[in-house]
Symmetry: C2
Subunit: 307 residues, 2 copies
């Protein structure tokens, strides 16, 4: 069977870059839609140059330019979008183009986080998840074959600072724990998310499904996370417990967007939005054991890199 | 196999009354939780008297009284809630009681309309659907076995007036059509919804599933509906087309709650919220053909009763 040709939108971003590399790794013909302006940004131009050298075909265009979208979509079988949260609603034109093209066997919209239909913080997240839900409904309304990837947190987000807002490295004296510290969150490494995503593309099991990642070594509560870190540095930390009420108060007092980090912490580690529901019984598919050859870097292995 | 014992909350309401009757019809031991105040309302007292005579065990209590809820829940295997939209969030205590009791094999929360996770009018519906989604997340967070019934519109809602806001009977001269009139909606008779719901209770296929009803004879667009009515009265009607923009303007100009009828019309017959998505591919279960012996009164049959 021939490998699907894959178009990735957002390759200059964090996950998009990993997706492009994973596409090549699994021998799919790889295409990237790139805004002309990206070539004038030295950092982005460097990334693009290295992807192009590795074999990714770069196509100029943008989510706001229908002609360029159609030209790109017509060259492939699968489209993966990995644009930033600010660009989520711009995917509507892409969905319409995919529909019109009639040639796309799978579309993966830009999510790669919590399931936007399952989070319970819609009063406070400035429509962060609502827009992603809106795109799901738009995809479904157009009858486009999809896979939604709910991988929860990336490891490069919040984990390097042990879920401490404002810090950049893990604490070695005091640590703040939100709520009772027993609610479990999930961190998955971006490169693992990218590889996993590419594995799903030609897999009929994953057609029109929400795929969740909760590998056992990647799920832990704040209490467990602190204990793990303490065991690695050989020292006990002073724990400061911040109650749900206090955290909500701080979120309200902090202006947007500075409060988003605390809002995501609240969602995952107080409300439990990443783990409160049973995957199968809510109609989802557990991706964790779908591909036995897929490795997931554990939280413990990641913490070792911070020592 | 013994039939599950069923507790119904909301039996003095439209669907709740049908649910109680269907419970008896299928030989389930039937219980109803009734607020003490309902016995002083002559209309409700009459309904309760007739249900009691038919074999429903009436239990006094309310969604706001934990002790009465626990006493009622402990006597049954299944709980069906059919309270009004204003009381949706009051189901949280019930969910907690069900969790604590540990004895409930199936919970059907108060929905019986559009799928609240699939509607696309959250900016304008005054949280009508958001509260129902919130209860879903609450049920899932508590790990309670559920079935969600998405039956779309009841036949007694909007259909008696041929989807004409403000009218009480179908028009015989002029008719207003919203949007292009080609978007399809769904009407199912309350007694059929009730029978269908009772059939799902002991069925393992329906555990933790969203069940959708779209019987072919119950799905139609406004153009088709008008044509059907015209053929029955043997007369063509003058059509007045109201565009999406004009409808949205009217909705804005009309104060809440008088505008809700137009909002529901907008959702179903302009946006297509009842039919835009494929049931299977979005993880749902199509209930239409699940029980071959289940009859669904068609729209045409219903219109015949209005002649």
């Amino acid at each position: 069977m021939e490998k699907s040709r894959v178009l990735i939108i957002g390759v200059t971003g964090n996950l998009g870059h990993h997706l492009a590399k994973a596409t090549l790794q699994f021998s799919h013909p790889a295409f990237a839609l790139v805004r002309p302006s990206s070539f004038s940004d030295p950092h982005k131009a460097h990334k693009l140059h290295s992807l192009s050298n590795a074999g990714v075909t770069l196509l100029q265009g943008s989510l706001e330019d229908e002609e360029s979208l159609m030209a790109a979509v017509k060259q492939v079988d699968v489209v993966i979008c990995a644009v930033s949260s600010k660009q989520v609603l711009l995917q509507k034109l892409l969905v319409q183009v995919i529909k019109k093209s009639g040639c796309i066997k799978r579309f993966i919209p830009s999510e790669f986080g919590l399931d936007p239909d399952k989070t319970r913080i819609s009063d406070m997240d400035y429509n962060f998840y609502k827009q992603k839900s809106e795109i799901r409904r738009f995809v479904e309304a157009h009858g486009i074959p999809y896979t939604y990837i709910s991988c929860n947190f990336y490891m490069s987000y919040l984990l390097p600072q042990l879920v401490q807002p404002g810090l950049k490295v893990p604490p070695r004296d005091k640590v703040t724990i939100f709520g009772d510290g027993n609610t479990k969150g999930v961190f998955v490494k971006e490169s693992d998310v990218a590889e996993f995503t590419i594995r799903t593309l030609d897999d009929p099991q994953t057609l029109n499904k929400v795929l969740y990642l909760r590998p056992p070594g990647n799920v832990c509560s704040m209490n467990e996370l602190v204990e793990l870190w303490e065991s690695k540095i050989g020292k006990k930390l002073e724990k400061i417990f911040v109650s749900e009420q206090e955290l909500l108060k701080k979120i309200k007092e902090t202006p947007y967007p500075d409060n988003m980090e605390m809002i995501f912490i609240y969602s995952a580690f107080v409300k439990g939005d990443q783990t409160y529901f049973d995957i199968e019984s809510s109609g989802g598919l557990d991706g964790t054991n779908l591909y036995p050859e897929q490795n997931f870097t554990t939280i413990s292995e990641y913490l070792d890199t911070l020592l």
